[in-house]
């Protein structure tokens, strides 16, 4: 009955001045909204990156130049000048734990046709790339092993490249395009992988050419990376150490990295996590400002109700009773703000989801409610204490 009467009295007092209560709550609503949505953005982004990675093949192990990935620091010591050669390709062929070995020479390149130009990422590689990365042609076909040996001037286009140049991907296959000042025949267009953005590569803007063809044209025999695939997730570590043993014979420890997709994923995600934390922290400031708003209005409320406090004290209310009465009000204000903020975040997330993946998880919901009630208590306790400490006789005399 006591608690019920506290809540009833608090709701009554708040509803007497609805506009004031609403404006006070608004600070908390905006704070919770921004924190919950920013967390949702962060989680959505993480999930999005993970999905992108998974769609590009599982259990992949990358051999990259330099000390690219470092779990504790993130990206470091990126050595773009370093590259691998055919000797490395041949020695990695001895790796037993991998079903595939894909050498990649990667460079930015312009594709020209029908008077149009598209800047793309050129992948000079083998036919195994398509299997390892789950790349499926929607039109035409992919190249084969014999095309590599023949140094055939053929190209498989990413979906977006084909679409941009030919307008319709149906028109691309069989057409001629100019790449690196040579004429190539388009033999296939790959299924769209979507994605890109946020610093992640857009695989729909990639083009694939047999590596020997490109080596022949550029007069180069360097690889920028190798892609291997473990038979199962549990084999990844063994595969990595096998690769390491081979490459360490020729290079220093710092010259190359052997990373699995999970590691790459974690590194990218850790960067976004830090970024997200900074954003959430900024959002949290608005929660604090909201809390100060509550404190301010509670002081006004104590002042307005001095006489009521006096009456209650005269009738036997303890300091604690008065404290709880005002604290209940501030907690109701802030929790109400928290709940409204949550509902609004949910509704907004439904709209945002059309353009961007956002995930509101249970933890964010619990956090929002916990933090908003904490703010109610923290910022409510000072005015409530002031009310509780009023001398009954001075309060009752107050006009």
């Amino acid at each position: 009955m006591y608690l019920l009467s506290l809540i009833k009295s608090a709701i009554f007092d708040l509803s007497r001045n609805k506009l004031r209560a609403f404006l006070t709550t608004l600070g908390i609503i905006i704070g919770v909204l921004s924190v919950v949505l920013l967390i949702a953005f962060g989680l959505g982004l993480k999930q999005y990156i993970a999905d992108q990675f998974n769609s590009l093949g599982s259990n992949l192990v990358f051999v990259l130049p330099g000390q690219v990935f470092n779990r504790s620091v993130g990206f470091t010591n990126l050595r773009t000048s370093f590259s691998f050669d055919e000797k490395d390709f041949n020695s990695l062929k001895k790796v037993k734990l991998s079903e595939v070995l894909v050498p990649v020479f990667q460079k930015g390149s312009t594709v020209r046709a029908l008077g149009k130009e598209e800047i793309t990422t050129l992948y000079a590689t083998t036919e195994e790339i398509f299997k390892a990365r789950n790349l499926i042609p929607v039109k035409g076909k992919i190249f084969e092993k014999k095309d590599i040996d023949k140094k055939a001037k053929i190209v498989v286009l990413g979906y977006e490249v084909a679409e941009k140049i030919f307008g319709n991907i149906d028109l691309a296959v069989g057409e001629k395009v100019r790449i690196e000042n040579q004429t190539f025949k388009v033999i296939g267009v790959l299924e769209s992988k979507g994605g890109g953005g946020f610093g992640a590569p857009n695989f729909d803007r990639f083009i694939y050419i047999p590596y020997k063809t490109i080596f022949n044209i550029l007069g180069k025999k360097n690889f920028s990376s190798f892609l291997l695939q473990a038979k199962s997730e549990s084999e990844i570590e063994n595969l990595k150490s096998e690769i390491n043993k081979i490459l360490i014979k020729r290079y220093n420890k710092d010259d190359f990295s052997v990373a699995d997709s999970k590691e790459v994923l974690q590194t990218i995600q850790s960067i976004f996590t830090v970024l997200n934390m900074v954003l959430v922290g900024t959002g949290a400031i608005s929660l604090i400002v909201g809390g100060i708003g509550i404190m301010n209005i509670m002081y006004v409320s104590v002042f307005e109700r001095t006489r009521e406090i006096g009456i209650r004290r005269a009738l036997g209310a303890l300091e604690k009773d008065i404290l709880l009465q005002f604290l209940t009000e501030s907690v109701i204000l802030s929790v109400l703000g928290g709940v409204i903020g949550l509902i609004l975040s949910y509704l907004l997330s439904l709209v945002i989801r059309i353009f961007f993946p956002v995930i509101i998880d249970g933890l964010a919901v619990i956090m929002a409610l916990f933090v908003s009630s904490f703010i109610g208590i923290f910022f409510g306790v000072f005015p409530a204490q002031k009310a509780a400490k009023l001398s009954p006789i001075e309060a009752i005399r107050y006009e």
Binding site: E308, L315, I396
Partner: protein, 222 residues
């Protein structure tokens, strides 16, 4: 029942200037007494009432309620004593306008943490009926006449069944008819219900109706 021994009350006004409201006041009010404390405004009678009513603490001296010294008690103990032992009736009624009549009457029950020997709701409704305000249980005080409001206040003062009724100018805001109703009620509370009733007033006519008059002037009993 109530005993004051050499009670002084000083107020700090400002710049070290003190106002002495009560000077060495000693008095004893026994059980079942019907007493008036009378004096002109500024005489210290309100301060005296606040000290008797445990709303204020003396600067010096001792206050005993049922032989227990109040100055030794902490705020919680004093608040509980106020809740159980003293029923207040104020000149301004001091009802809480956002609470209904019934809720106002039940307010002291809210702050009593002990198990009551009676059903408070039933008792409140009985009191409301007794004071002819039945039908108004769910009305708000500002919708009632002054006389009705004061009767709600009396019901509230009685809901905890306190042995002491302390009133401050209880008829001050009422017309003579309603004033008479209140005064005869107070008389009944003393005579029939054997409660100790103390009326603080400046009106000699009212004081004359009690059994004992304590006159106060310039903070001293005369």
């Amino acid at each position: 029942m109530i005993k004051l021994v050499k009670v002084c009350k000083k107020y700090h006004i400002d710049d070290g200037v003190d106002f002495i409201a009560l000077k060495d006041v000693s008095l004893e009010i026994k059980k079942n007494e019907y007493t008036a404390i009378i004096g002109p405004s500024g005489s210290g009678k309100s301060t005296l009432m606040h000290i008797i009513g445990l709303l204020d603490k003396p600067t010096k001296g001792k206050v005993f309620i049922n032989e227990k010294e109040v100055s030794q008690m902490n705020d919680n103990q004093i608040s509980k004593l106020r809740n159980k032992f003293i029923g207040f009736i104020f000149q301004q009624f001091n009802l809480i306008n956002k609470l209904t009549v019934l809720e106002n009457v039940l307010l002291p029950v809210l702050y009593c943490r002990e198990k009551l020997s009676f059903n408070p709701e039933k008792r409140a409704l009985e009191l409301i009926k007794r004071f002819n305000i039945d039908g108004k249980e769910n009305s708000y005080p500002n919708k009632l006449s002054g006389g009705q409001q004061q009767r709600v206040a009396i019901a509230r003062a009685l809901v905890m069944d306190p042995p002491i009724i302390l009133t401050d100018e209880p008829t001050g805001n009422l017309d003579s008819k309603n004033g008479e109703i209140v005064l005869s009620l107070l008389e009944k509370l003393n005579k029939e219900e054997k409660r100790t009733v103390i009326i603080v007033t400046h009106d000699l006519e009212i004081a004359k109706r009690t059994k004992r008059i304590i006159k106060i002037k310039d903070g001293q009993i005369v």
